[in-house]
Symmetry: C2
């Protein structure tokens, strides 16, 4: 049974992200094993948790090479024990000073898709840096399109002339897996992208390029033996409702729940008003089959974590600080003002970034980058 008033356990009085360390480290172990079996090195993306404490769980699992999404995140994790960091964002030349300072402390790997950026980096830094060329495998967000072979060839050719630039590989993020659903569709994206990237690897075989690949859906579900040299999933450490809907995880694998005080109970419409809004969850939603927007699932805290989602209950809307939880008429009987309920978030990366106030099940703070 759930804890009637979870504050007894959690001492929560405002929206707080609760992390189940056991689930998170189990997710990590599973991903390590999958990467190992597929012959890839796991270089997890730390944008999801942004926390030195969670980073420690990775260090304990033997992981020292990581991925981040900003120069400031690289600086943070350089101070938290990581010595080999890929900044998986098209390098921003306005942060050259920060890059130079970082490169004095740890090994930094950059991603670049423009020659002008590459030349600028070469000009400004004082020692060699490893660089991945960003390849667009179909997401059309950033990078050079995989079929632009002439452009890619030219890029490598020009890069060779730059004495501080060491082109070590090609890097892709199949962001379109987030719009896919189920193992079959994800597998087909992974297959197609592997073909594109390995074609490039073969085409430039004299360079012995690494292929770096990332995204939680494919790394969680697809069969990718010998496809890629490196995997960079991030979300898998916590997972979330979106990943559950894609098929990347089971509901029990979701390692975070936002604890929210109940501030109003409305039996007439079977709704709760909770303290927990867009500034805590961010405003990502899933369009559910019933046509409603789904901002999260509802759980109750137990002695050792939280329950399965309550069937037929969901977080139905968010304003700045308020959330509206829709329940059934039976469920609402069990809720009182002052209860603390849990919400499984839609997108854990954005929720961590919005909320920043994390604790483990033992009520210990889990500081993160900006908390």
């Amino acid at each position: 049974m759930w804890v009637d008033n979870a504050t007894d356990m959690l001492k929560i009085s405002s929206p707080t992200l609760i992390v189940d360390q056991q689930k998170a480290t189990a997710n990590l172990q599973k991903m390590q094993l999958r990467a190992f079996k597929a012959g890839a090195e796991l270089r997890p993306h730390f944008k999801t948790h942004q926390s030195g404490v969670v980073g420690q769980w990775f260090l304990e699992a033997g992981i020292t090479k990581i991925t981040v999404s900003s120069v400031s995140m690289a600086s943070y994790f350089a101070m938290h024990g990581f010595s080999d960091i890929t900044i998986a964002f098209p390098f921003n030349i306005l942060e050259m000073d920060e890059l130079k300072s970082l490169m004095q402390k740890v090994k930094i790997n950059l991603i670049v898709s423009s020659l002008s950026t590459l030349e600028k980096i070469n000009q400004c830094i004082e020692k060699e840096v490893d660089v991945f060329l960003k390849i667009d495998v179909g997401t059309h967000r950033s990078g050079i399109e995989a079929n632009e072979k002439k452009v890619i060839q030219d890029f490598f050719h020009q890069a060779k002339k730059l004495s501080n630039i060491n082109m070590v590989g090609i890097l892709a993020h199949a962001g379109h897996t987030y719009h896919a659903k189920g193992a079959v569709e994800i597998q087909s994206i992974a297959d197609e992208c592997s073909t594109k990237l390995n074609d490039l690897k073969t085409m430039f075989s004299e360079r012995q390029l690494l292929i770096s690949w990332g995204d939680t859906p494919s790394c969680s579900m697809a069969e990718m033996t010998a496809y890629f040299d490196e995997w960079r999933p991030g979300n898998f450490i916590f997972y979330d409702v979106m990943q559950y809907h894609i098929g990347s995880c089971k509901l029990q694998d979701i390692a975070v729940a936002v604890a929210c005080p109940v501030v109003e109970v409305h039996p007439s419409r079977n709704q709760l008003v909770i303290y927990g809004g867009a500034v805590h969850f961010a405003k990502e939603f899933i369009s559910a089959d019933n046509g409603f927007k789904l901002f999260g699932y509802v759980v109750r805290f137990t002695e050792k974590g939280w329950s399965e989602p309550l069937p037929g209950a969901w977080l139905a809307s968010l304003s700045q600080e308020h959330g509206i939880v829709q329940l059934t008429s039976e469920q609402i009987e069990d809720f009182r003002i002052g209860d603390v309920i849990g919400i499984l978030p839609i997108h854990s990366c954005l929720t961590v970034s919005a909320l920043r106030d994390m604790r483990d099940l033992n009520n210990h703070a889990i500081p993160c980058m900006k908390s």
Copy 2:
């Protein structure tokens, strides 16, 4: 003309919210005048800016009574010169200790819609507190529905027995104005709600209830002379693209733009990749007439601020740290990697809360609550 590389002016290297103080204070003056003419006291909502520095602009305009959306925000502004603060969120009984501590420093006004919460407050606090009953005027988010006159009567009757509770008024937020468009529709919501609230005021005339009213669309547009005793708009200080679409402001009134470095230029699809994503903007969007999602308008920084939005250009998508800007084929000629462009945000309240890194046009930091 715009500044070719705004970093010369702004020294911006990562996403930063730029505030045009002149526009913001002009917005404030206009709102003060409108409230004055309507016979209402302005008690602005500070959830939009969450900043002591911006708060100072209000103090200089003679405003000392404010509204906030959380107990922690009340604590912050109690430390920044405000002595009369309404916490316009259904009071969360788990924050009783924080409330008691706050009440020793400044005058706090609460909103409540449940008798059990009211009784709990009465039990726990040591001196009288002013309380507003939250009335649901049609948004169906929180409060007692305006037509539940029996319930409201009972609430006031019971409240009278509680020695630490001083019921001073009724409070409503017509959140549904955010889904309305144009002055006529907004006016009709204001009219209808005024009738509902003034009916209640008359019904309980022996109590001399104040009517507290808030929302930027109606306070910006509607004719509300003698409708309400108090106005609590918040967003108006900055406005944003959503308010422009509703009709609350002109584009030139929008007082904030997010400065974002350009990291990739894609002439083949007339797109820029910018450093500026969901963790900076939050993920609110407008479904534009052309069927696309609109995450913001694009401006260029000038010597004294920023340009009008570039016609036909928009922020078209956001991932965690990336934004994709759609331009015309003529416009893209003018953009280079390393430029800093401006984005007028969809919802400034959420963008401030997500970004927290604010500066004025003179490059002075504007610290906010959690920065």
